[in-house]
Amino acid sequence: MCLSIPAKLLEIEGLRARADVGGNVVRVDLSLLPDAKPGEYVLVHAGFALDRYQPGEAERILGYFQEMGMIPADAGDEAGTGIGTDREAGARPG
């Protein structure tokens, strides 16, 4: 189980970033992708960015996961402590 989602990095402060996931703002840790830049699409797993996406790929895979019901269409919250309002469904190891 490897649920990981694409997010667009908005602003970065040190190793912490705020990112957009399908219109919702989430908090993303950049410890494992320290050279990520604002504007880039990254693969986020359990709150950490693990890789960057090529342009176009991220939007497609996000739409796909939402269509699959793997992530809620409303996929984040401003506090960034959970992905989605139903945190118990959103928190998955992989």
Binding site: M1, L3, L32, G47, F48, I61, G63, E67, A91, R92
Partner: protein
């Protein structure tokens, strides 16, 4: 591994003319996830023809693949001689009862706050689930990230916070990064109960266990961290074709096509269908963090038993963060849940409907085993999507 007797070249290279371009243009031609890759399906038919009517069994070892395969009815799109089976690809499902039991008793002791990924909450152990423990007074919090558990500890210095650290190579680096931060920030009231699992040793164990397999659909996101090269020793030792594969319907179909082509050619190589995202060396920073904090250790898998060097334990420098040591947690072997056949499901020995409880006394609302609890478990995927007609795609 009958039939795999060719040159068995190893490399992450792809067969010329069967490159990612094929998949990408096919996928882009339709909306995400819809099955548009007629050319990919032709490749599958051609390769199956070359195999005459030899039966081929391919295993996926990633819960997201399992869900996608059921969601899209991909099994029904393949020639009759090709069977897809789900392996131990869901970290919640492979977590042993003994781990759940240890976490439950730690929670019920009342001395610590447990923080866990949500999927773990309803997994039944031999003394109930974490959710049951919470209703009996244990302090259990669901978090999205291990970093959130560390934040909880930083905000409540008088409370011991224990994070239930499960997951494959995708998750382990996030835990490692958090443990490094806990050390650097001097947060003393944070620790982890580690039960991480590694995918390549599990793939080897499935083969060693005698499950007849002709190829692996290797996981996309685990491979983002470990890289496609991580499967080279496995392909060489077992002469088994391995294709790292993406998650959309066309990706999976192309992964199957690439495997069938290898089998028909008599090759056993590591190929990467998901070059859009996965690199040969993975994510070096993530691998470094994982190697700094953890070392390989034997681990107990539900259904597969103890597999040598298939888990991760904290290195000596980090044992201060080992909740097992800090609180004297013992993992006693638990009796297998009565009648639940998750173990056989995880080995690919049976399909979920072959379990007598499937859909009767066991369903997602009242799960008897972890394979039904986790939405990415084989039983849950079968239950939700097993009746979707092949090809109904989206």
């Amino acid at each position: 591994m009958d039939g795999i007797n060719g040159a068995g070249e190893i490399g992450d290279g792809r067969v010329p003319g069967h490159g990612p371009g094929t998949a990408r243009s096919a996928a882009l031609a339709g909306a995400a996830g819809r099955i548009s890759g007629a050319s990919v399906r032709e490749r599958i038919t051609r390769a199956a023809d070359r195999l005459a009517s030899r039966r081929v069994r391919l295993m996926e070892v990633c819960g997201t693949h399992t869900m996608a395969i059921f969601r899209h009815g991909i099994r029904g799109l393949l020639p009759d001689c090709v069977r897809l089976i789900s392996g131990p690809g869901c970290p919640v499902c492979v977590t042993d009862d003994s781990y759940i039991d240890a976490a439950v008793s730690l929670g019920l002791d009342g001395k610590v706050t447990l923080a866990t990924f949500g999927d773990m909450m309803r997994v039944p152990g031999s003394r109930g689930s974490l959710q049951d423990a919470r209703s009996r007074g244990a302090d259990v919090h669901v978090v999205y990230s291990c970093a959130d558990a560390l934040d909880m500890a930083a905000k409540a210095p008088s409370r011991q916070v224990v994070f239930l650290a499960v997951g494959f190579e995708t998750t382990a680096p996030t835990i490692a990064a958090t443990v490094i931060r806990a050390r650097n920030d001097g947060i003393r009231n944070f620790s982890i109960l580690a039960a991480h699992k590694l995918i390549p040793p599990a793939m080897a164990a499935v083969l060693d266990g005698g499950t007849a397999l002709d190829g692996f659909i290797a996981p996309g996101h685990v491979s983002v961290v470990i890289g496609s090269d991580a499967y080279l020793p496995l392909a060489a030792k077992y002469r088994v074709p391995i294709v790292v594969t993406g998650f959309e319907a066309d990706d999976i179909l192309e992964g199957v096509a690439m495997l069938l082509e290898q089998i028909a050619d008599g090759r056993a190589a590591v190929e990467n269908q998901y070059v859009r995202v996965v690199r040969p060396g993975g994510n070096p920073a993530a691998r470094r963090a994982m190697e700094e904090v953890f070392e390989p250790s034997d681990a107990s898998w539900r259904g597969l038993g103890v597999i040598p060097d298939s888990g991760l334990r904290l290195r000596r420098e980090f044992t201060d963060f080992d909740a097992g040591r800090r609180f004297g947690v013992a993992m006693a072997p638990a009796p297998p849940p009565k009648g639940c056949r998750c173990g056989d499901v995880l080995k690919g020995a049976i399909d979920p409907p072959e379990c007598p409880m499937f859909g009767k006394s066991c369903d997602p609302a009242r799960p008897k085993g972890p394979c039904m609890v986790s939405s990415e478990g084989s039983c849950a995927a079968h239950y939700r999507y097993g009746r979707v007609k092949p090809g109904s795609g989206s």
